[in-house]
Assembly symmetry: C2
Homo-oligomer: 252 residues x 2
């Protein structure tokens, strides 16, 4: 079994892919499912998300469009909520909500794009964060045939220390589950994990962690640093029925 870690999304996947965007998309995705969401739709653009917000061709007495009740929109650009979305991309905020029966439509700067790159060639795509690291590692090991690829979303084409650190945590778990040949990216992630101190230190010292702190979103950094608190792993559904959106549900 091969373990490959892409420190930035690359493509050309052949088997099982774990997508990581610790700050904050994949942490928020896990939290949505923890809080009862039935499924997630990761869209390739904000427009795809906004188009799903309204029931097609339905208007109320005042001629206003009518919301698609099952859908809530969560997303960010530059760390702040997208106009017309119900939520930003805060896992800490999401952890206070009840999403029972809802489908959350997500669009973020880096995480959803990375998921779409993974889905273009990967056979199975899972969303991983520090908060579901152990469950994600076990699920990937169970599903993979010959290769597990971990994809770090990074920030606008630049490597993010927080994603590489999380990839190192997951790589560590995978090594404990059995024999793996590792590539250069995996060796770099493992080296970082083993020398970078505790998770909170790694995340809060990362460039994006410091950006979130300055935006007053330090709570999200602390939330995202909780390792293996959740056993839920968002997995890409076999059936994909909405153009420009990838459906994820909790792996069972």
């Amino acid at each position: 079994m091969k373990l490959r870690v892409d420190l930035l999304p690359h493509g050309n996947y052949s088997d099982t892919v774990l997508v990581i965007d610790v700050l904050r998309a994949t942490t928020t995705a896990v939290t949505y499912l923890e809080r009862g969401a039935e499924s997630l739709l990761l869209t390739s653009s904000p427009d795809v998300a906004l188009s799903l917000k309204w029931q097609p061709g339905v208007h109320d007495d005042a001629g206003e469009a009518v919301r698609n009740e099952q859908y809530l929109l969560g997303g960010e650009r530059g760390g702040l909520a997208i106009p017309g979305f119900d939520f930003g991309n805060s896992p800490q905020e999401a952890s206070q909500q009840n999403f029972t029966g809802k489908t959350i439509i997500m669009n973020t700067t880096n995480g959803t794009a990375a998921a779409h790159i993974a889905a273009q060639s990967g056979s199975r795509v899972l969303l991983a964060s520090l908060t579901n690291a152990h469950a994600a590692a076990r699920r990937a090991k169970a599903l993979a045939v010959e290769e597990i690829a971990i994809v770090c979303a990074g920030t606008d084409g630049r490597v993010g220390l927080e994603d590489v650190y999380a990839a190192g945590v997951i790589a560590e778990y995978l090594l404990a589950l059995g024999e793996l040949s590792v590539d250069d990216g995996a060796r770099i992630a493992l080296t970082l994990r083993r020398s970078a101190g505790n998770p909170l230190e790694a995340l809060s010292s990362s460039q994006h962690g410091q950006t979130l702190e300055k935006l007053g979103l330090g709570e999200d950094v602390r939330y995202a640093a909780q390792v293996s608190e959740s056993t839920l792993v968002p997995v890409m559904s076999e059936v994909q029925d909405i153009e420009g959106a990838l459906r994820f549900v909790a792996a069972t």
Copy 2:
């Protein structure tokens, strides 16, 4: 002064850029200058290089095209020499030659592409390897105004441990030369340098190092692992007069 390390070429440079392709383009480039080459022309494609090989419009009695005597062509695809080139991309082979008065036209899979990306936005571009690491660090520090960017060429869009290790060596030298704010990429490169053992171990254990070993080019890996043996730093000339080629000369 900021230090930024791109673990893969990214672009958007504003100041001084050090391009690293330890296995093997920037190691070979330094060796060409060590062996007397007057200048290097890094081309964006093999065709640009091949077009410079012949004197335009000149034929011998037999009607054959006539070589441009000042130019020699060095380059590789998949580690092997490009048809029509005089040399592959072996620094060890180059170290046995005498290139006095010659201009070497280079084209390689990753290194020359990274130099072109750097040149698109960087003000000053230098070629760095382990073999000229200290000289390259000092030159970059002397030239930079507010930011030094180290660009790791990587291999076909995948991070290469050998380039990140070399970036860590150069980052270490730069830190010794004065106060620097470092980005995530720099922290990862420094962490790898400090925990990855000696240079030969890092290079020969890297994926590309192992590929070269299998191609019978292990000598090049050992040659490339010699840290700071050369004081020559290829620097991009102010004047660029050949379309699709970047001229580099030894910094004086």
